[in-house]
């Protein structure tokens, strides 16, 4: 299992590099002059030339890329063109809110969608189920920024209970996290419901009942573990969506996170910041994907065997313990 993890981590590297290449290329080829960004529009041509030389903008693009990446591997992400701060410092400040928002929303999705999905499956075709089908349909269609605005109108403007901006106190975190989760609740509760319905029809559930077990145990122990896989897949795929969607949430709620940083940086063609943001985001997402896969193997022993079998096969091929 450990070997599998290492293999996956190793596979991440070319992908992250690929991402950085593409983004770097896009940014280098797009219009806009970083020198002007830094020195301002009124700077003299001479100063601009000097700055361009300093930034290495006159080198061919591949050279620029290598120079950049050389610094990245030692942890130096450079200085922001617009804020003049060290990029690492900026990320240190802006990453935590984004992480809390994204993972907080994934967490709330899980704790709401899974029990709800189970309840809907058990009470299939009841009035509750039918109402929730319609409700889920609408909730899944509501974009986070709209539910955000509605919640702000209700809870901030009219009721004054929750702040409309910022992210520093728990009460400020409530609305952004909930709005990011609403669509996830709707979608994942449907997925869990469908998966549970599928599992409940299986023969081994009948065996469990024939053992005289309590129905609640049949559902919670026997059915649930088998039903979780599609939900894990869906939530795993939602990680990427959360990071993307957090951009919009941060703009709406005025949260000082990575998303807002990226938007500002894109507007000003602040290459170091953009690159850093993209690289770090893709690393986090790749790690999240790996964790999702590990969660699969944790839940389903057949997948666990598959990983172990690959290891065993490789051992056979490479001879005795080639490591």
């Amino acid at each position: 299992m450990g070997r599998y993890i290492l293999k996956r981590l190793a596979q991440m590297i070319p992908i992250v590099i690929g991402v950085s290449v593409i983004v770097f290329l896009l940014l280098s080829l797009s219009p806009g002059d970083p020198a002007k960004m830094i020195l301002g529009l009124n700077a003299k041509e001479q100063e601009l030339q000097l700055m361009r030389e300093q930034l290495g903008l006159n080198d061919p693009i591949p050279v620029q890329y290598f120079n950049y990446m050389k610094k990245v591997v030692v942890g130096d992400f450079g200085t922001s063109y617009s804020t003049k701060q060290s990029v690492i410092e900026m990320i240190g400040v802006r990453l935590p809110p984004t992480l809390i928002l994204s993972f907080g929303s994934l967490f709330t999705i899980l704790i709401v969608a899974i029990p709800l999905g189970i309840a809907l499956a058990v009470k299939q075709n009841s009035p509750f189920d039918n109402i929730m089908r319609v409700v889920s349909l609408f909730f899944a269609a509501m974009p986070g920024f709209w539910s955000g605005i509605l919640m702000i109108i209700l809870f901030s403007v009219h009721l004054g209970w929750l702040p409309a901006n910022g992210f520093d106190t728990p009460s400020a975190m409530i609305m952004p996290i909930i709005c990011s989760s609403i669509a996830g609740w709707a979608v994942n509760s449907r997925i869990t419901r469908a998966s549970m319905l599928d599992v409940i029809r299986q023969d081994y559930i009948r065996t469990a009942r024939a053992k005289g077990l309590k129905e609640s145990i049949v559902i919670r122990k026997h059915a649930l573990k088998n039903a979780l896989l599609p939900t894990i897949t869906s939530v795993g795929m939602a990680v990427g969506g959360c990071f993307g969607g957090s951009v919009i949430m941060e703009m709406l709620f005025g949260i000082n996170g990575m998303g807002k940083m990226m938007i500002d940086a894109l507007r000003q063609k602040d290459i170091p910041t953009i690159m850093a943001g993209v690289i770090i985001t893709s690393v986090i997402i790749a790690v999240a994907n790996l964790l999702t896969d590990l969660a699969y193997s944790f839940v389903d022993p057949r997948i666990r065997s598959m990983y172990a079998r690959r290891r065993a096969q490789r051992k056979e091929v490479t001879g005795n313990g080639a490591n």
């Binding site: 690929g18 991402v19 990071f243 993307g244 969607g245 951009v247 919009i248 990226m262 507007r267 985001t281």
Partner: protein
Amino acid sequence: MAQIDVTLAPARRKKSKKRSLWADAWLRLRKNKSAVAGMIMLATILIVIYSSPLYLDYDNDVIKPDLTHTLQFPAEGKLLGTDELGRDVLARILWGGRISIGIGVLSMLLSSIIGCTLGAISGYYGGKTDGIIMRSLDVFMAIPSLLLMITLVSVMKPTITNLIIALAIGSVPSVSRMVRAQVLYIKGQEFVEAIRAQGASDFRIIVMHILPNAISPLISQFVMEIAGLILAISGLSFIGLGVQPPDPEWGAMLSSGREHIRDVWHVTAFPGIALVLTVVALTLVGDGLRDALDPRMKR
């Protein structure tokens, strides 16, 4: 009196009419109540929105500001009130709908064409070609699609055409993957071998035999993707990177209305409702299509 009178129980056999796959699917779709509701909703929305040029004039109704009547609800002659520049909210919603839906559909078409091509080539030829294409797509998929779209839009000028291209590129990786999976499945079926044995060229096999079979389960996915793209374009416009003013767009309307939420709610409520209704309609139709076109579905 004893009579030898043996009557065989009539064997009831349901008459099976010969029906084509499409006619069959249409019948199933018609029976599905929520799909029918979705289709009616969608048809209504499309008719209302696309007939708007008949009674709306872009310059007068949609973009002309009227600073004497801002933020009114209700307002005279304006069913849904006026926005912060005095413009008719309803007119802007209808016009913006054409833009949003149009972009959604066009980018879906573009990404389908590219995605089908890549997926088909990758799935059919396999081997190194497959490896290269899939690895490259993996790189694109490593970036969240919204971030990818944002990046693309930022580096290009925000014209509608560029928006369509950016959105399409954002969708291509997942579409290619789906098409590839289908192609692999169909490729393994015997009739493909039979056709190849008849000497058909690769191109002919892919275009005339594999793709038509691959597409039908994907049609419902495509419809749902349109909904997703409409949400994406709203999101982009919300943060200012999508459709530019003075053109109306639902997300952009939400963004500009946001500054006035302390005073009025109608400027932000109605565009949102339009967005939700459109996505709901598309979702219902997409779901219905999936149930109708999937031959393995049991009732």
